[in-house]
């Protein structure tokens, strides 16, 4: 009798545990990996590593939040990384130190930092507008549309970058004040908080409000969830899609300017393939490619998971090529388990 009850209890908790595991598969994957890393190298757990991971994740969070919004509208963006590169190159070229001998514009006076940053954000915002136009007006599928602009933007960036007299040289010698905006930190009650983390937090907050509290936010979910319903209810489909791509473009621009300042230089290959990391982070964070589903916390978690993996695997000295294989497997595993939630059993 007693054993029957306990058996029953066991099967019940077993089932519940399985369901719970299913719903939190992504976090379990992260946890297991984290435990493995800590087991191999216990000193992984440190404030310093934690800060490094957050700092490295910062620009990626900004990019991923841009891409996440447009994935919710059933979109995608392959041009993101190239836009980051374009923004990095242009802002670096305009913010080289006065005493640096190989300046792209030798006679350019020192600009206030915000001028080039706003300029590159405007430029990438404009490319975002073009993406949005091709997708919403010309009705080209987002994959193809942004495949095209990805190549175009790389071409544009390379023409700008590879010019006499210095040719295709990395744009370095950035002014200290520019590098400080990305490399500096603020002392908050004994903790050094990197500026980058603060920017990422501000962008996260902004996007959270935008997605959850505004008409535009609700419209992107509606457009992604059921475009036809949105249209017959009077939602302006074209404007919504244009806006979401412009916002994404502006975010890539900021990320690019920060990326150049963080690294201290930029080339036409800066940002290459960042879009794939961002898309992977979104997907692992539960943003659905079929549209209408996705949260800010999911996107941020997705980026952090990847950053922990990147940093952690490097920390314990895993062969970099092997790291690629592990990352690929994690994407597939996480999404495959996550998908089980939505499959209808017949």
């Amino acid at each position: 009798m007693l054993s029957k009850v306990s058996n029953r209890l066991k099967s019940l908790t077993g089932k519940d545990a399985a369901a719970w595991a299913m719903n939190n598969a992504i976090f379990l994957v992260l946890l297991v990996l984290l435990l493995v890393i800590i087991a191999i190298s216990p000193d992984f757990v440190s404030i310093n590593n934690f800060r490094n991971i957050l700092t490295q994740a910062s620009t990626r969070i900004i990019i991923a939040l841009g891409i996440g919004g447009l994935i919710i509208t059933q979109g995608t963006d392959l041009s993101a990384g190239r836009m980051v590169g374009l923004a990095a190159v242009i802002s670096a070229s305009l913010l080289q130190a006065a005493e640096y001998p190989y300046r792209m514009y030798p006679d350019l006076p020192m600009l206030p930092i915000f001028v080039p940053i706003l300029l590159v954000a405007a430029i990438t915002g404009f490319f975002g507008l073009i993406n949005g136009f091709i997708i919403s007006k010309l009705k080209v599928t987002p994959f193809i549309a942004t495949l095209g602009t990805m190549i175009i933007i790389y071409g544009v960036n390379s023409i700008y970058f590879d010019r006499p007299p210095y040719g295709a040289q990395p744009i370095g010698g950035l002014s200290q004040s520019y590098m400080d905006i990305a490399q500096g930190s603020i002392n908050l009650g004994g903790f050094m908080i990197p500026f980058l983390v603060i920017y990422a937090a501000l962008v996260t907050l902004f996007i959270w409000v935008l997605w959850n509290k505004t008409r535009f936010g609700k419209n992107i979910y509606a457009v992604g969830g059921n475009p036809e319903a949105a249209v017959v209810s009077g939602v302006n489909l074209v404007r919504t899609i244009l806006t979401v791509y412009v916002i994404a473009g502006v975010l890539y621009g900021f990320a690019g300017a920060l990326e150049a300042a963080r690294v201290g230089s930029a080339t036409n290959n800066t940002g290459n393939m960042y879009e794939l990391d961002a898309i992977a982070a979104c997907v692992v964070g539960g943003v659905s490619f079929s549209g209408g589903i996705g949260t800010v916390s999911g996107v941020v978690t997705g980026v952090l998971i990847f950053q922990v993996i990147n940093y952690g695997l490097a920390f314990i000295g895993v062969n970099p090529y092997l790291q690629y294989i592990i990352k690929g497997l994690i994407i597939i595993t996480a999404v495959a388990i996550d998908t089980r939630k939505y499959i209808k059993k017949k």
């Binding site: 609700k218 509606a222 969830g225 249209v231 209810s233 009077g234 209408g292």
Partner: protein
Amino acid sequence: MQNAALKHHGEYLLEMVGISKEFPGVRALDNVQFKVRPGTVHALMGENGAGKSTLMKCLFGIYHTDSGEIYLSGKKIRFTTARQALDNGVSMVHQELNQVRQRNVMDNIWLGRYPKKGLFVDEDKMYEDTRKIFNELDIRLDPREKVEKLSVSEMQMVEIAKAVSYHSKVIVMDEPTSSLTEKEVNHLFTIIRALKEKQVSIIYISHKMEEILQISDEVTVMRDGKWIATKPAKELTTDMIISLMVGRDLTNRFPEKTNMPGETILKVEGLTATYQPSIQDVSFELRKGEILGIAGLVGSKRTDIVESLFGIRHVSSGDVYLHGKKVKNSTAEEAIRNRFALVTEERRSTGIFNILNISFNSIVANLGEYFGSTGLIDEEKCKKDTKWVIDSMSVKTPSQRTLIGSLSGGNQQKVILGRWLLTQPEILMLDEPTRGIDVGAKYEIYKLIIALASEGKGIMMISSEMPELLGITDRILVMSNGRVAGIVETRETTQEEILRLSAKYL
């Protein structure tokens, strides 16, 4: 001046006069008139292709009329977007519900015009306003519930509440009861009556005669893009409406039954599906040359029976015997090999390959038969078999290469029937074979079904239309809540008995 206008139009809330619309090669609407009085339910009827949806699309500005005028409360209107129509109090509850399933109820209702407080959406106001409308209409739903969690009828209630939230004066309901249970239909009718009280007019598009006679005040019938008649519902009978719709007296809606049931060919014992809620302990026999109807309310799991037999639904227990020999279909491929065939319920999503031609659609279930010794597809045989499908099913099409999506529903269904006959099935399972097909074409489908039974095939036919079940089947299996509530002889049963059985396990 204004008074004169009011007086002139006072009798009608909505007037569509002399509406014509031409598409290349087709006169879709020919001088149609349609006038709706305030606070009434006005049924709009006609066979598929009669021009009902075209007329409604002209009202909503999705199509531009070639000629004709539309008046709303005596004011001339011409909408160009769906939103304009909504803002002017004309709304539509769609047949395919247009909702954002991932979002909650109130997000759907206020979509496109979320109330704002400063920069942000005012969620509290949305919630309160939604509650108010729900109370008025006696809808018991949480405005914060996700739409995908709702049943079809609840989703429909949400759509109606949305129409009311626009202060609509005219609400178009397109086939609103096509997937509702008896009880849900009654709730819908209660809501419709409440709307009438508020002087809202309902344009009610449906094929279900009994319902129309029950709920509507006036009936307008269209045929071939022309206005045929507008009459008070009280003066009409089902037969009168049908003869107006088809333009001739249909003395007999069903062909003569010529099939003779023979010995038992299929025996099903204790069939139970793995993933519940679904079928439980379903047992029955099917005879050679018999048409076995399967009746039941929506949600009674009728479809699950045929899906289980066809190998596309997991079965946990139960046995199936064909000619006394045990068969196990765990995939559709096996089922086809064992001479089972299934014409699915949702023709658009699981029946036709919309953007492919009739030839492909005819041979697709039987592809293995078309590879010659070379391993390449035998085009001659394909042509021959497609021709057989077109001829024997009398499909109306210009050629074998015509895309199936461009045919009418009835002709599409004939192609699909033909597709399955090419696999030479012994057991033919038909799930709602006449759904969305107009009266004339239905008759032809019935004739085909009876002819197939006469040839000795065992036929199972799921249907929600009682007259159809009573008209052409030999026996009727009634499902209730996943279980067999009874199997009755068609000749001896009544509509009342079937309804009573449908509710047996609720």
